[in-house]
Amino acid sequence: MALTRLGPNQSINLASNVTGTLATGNGGTGATSFSPGKLLQIQSVNFTSGVTSVTTDSFTATEVTDQITPSATDSKILVIFNTSLSQYEGSGSGCKYEAGIYRQINGGGYSRIYAGSGNSYGGYGESSGNTERTTSFPTTMTFLDTSHNTTNAIDYKLYLSLLTASGQGDNVNTGASDQERSVTLIEIGA
């Protein structure tokens, strides 16, 4: 390898004059090129008070939401909602609910991105029924958003609905007794 001694006012152009590998034994990586990581940013929020109660038979917004501003249009956003959804039923044939993830880009209004109607629900039904009951189940919803195509702010929000097709219950809540809820948004590079 040719070596050049630099004078007191000379510099090295790192873009064109430096090549080779610094061995790991000398504190280097042993690699001839650098590939940046794919994890671009993480946004998260916890909620510890003020659960939302819903009695509707169509998807209704809750307080469980978070916002992220992607650094690239072709990145992916991993969306994770953690809740412990609870329900009350005074009588009838069980407690069932639907849950959906809605997305809003740049304040333009929410639309559902996960899941298809009837594809994301929880709870239970009873054949005997007609007794008062409450339920509370840990509920995690995870979705990989590959279609945002924006560097504007994106809001993701949890929507809930009673499942009226069977054993809907009287209300569904984002948690019982203000149980902790969280949203985590992870931007992953293309």
């Binding site: 659960v51 109660s53 009695t55 307080e63 639309s111 009287d170 809540n173």
Partner: protein
């Protein structure tokens, strides 16, 4: 029984089948006035809500009275 469930039961006793949502507890008239009432469904299948109570029979006084019975 949780306060939010009491509020749901009380409102539905006053008018069966009424659909609404709220965040936090219903303890005062100010809380009651923040309830979102369903008025329809949009093209995305989401509820259209308003804080203007369209149900004249559901008042804070009546709801409070029902909640106190529970």
């Amino acid at each position: 029984m949780e306060n939010n469930t009491k509020a749901c039961i009380a409102i539905q006793k006053l008018k069966e089948g009424v659909q609404f949502s709220f965040t936090g507890d219903i303890v005062t008239e100010a809380d009651f006035n923040k309830i979102n009432w369903k008025t329809g469904v949009d093209s995305e299948g989401a509820s259209i809500m308003t804080t203007t109570n369209p149900h004249s029979e559901i008042t804070w006084t009546a709801v409070k009275a029902e909640m106190d019975k529970l």
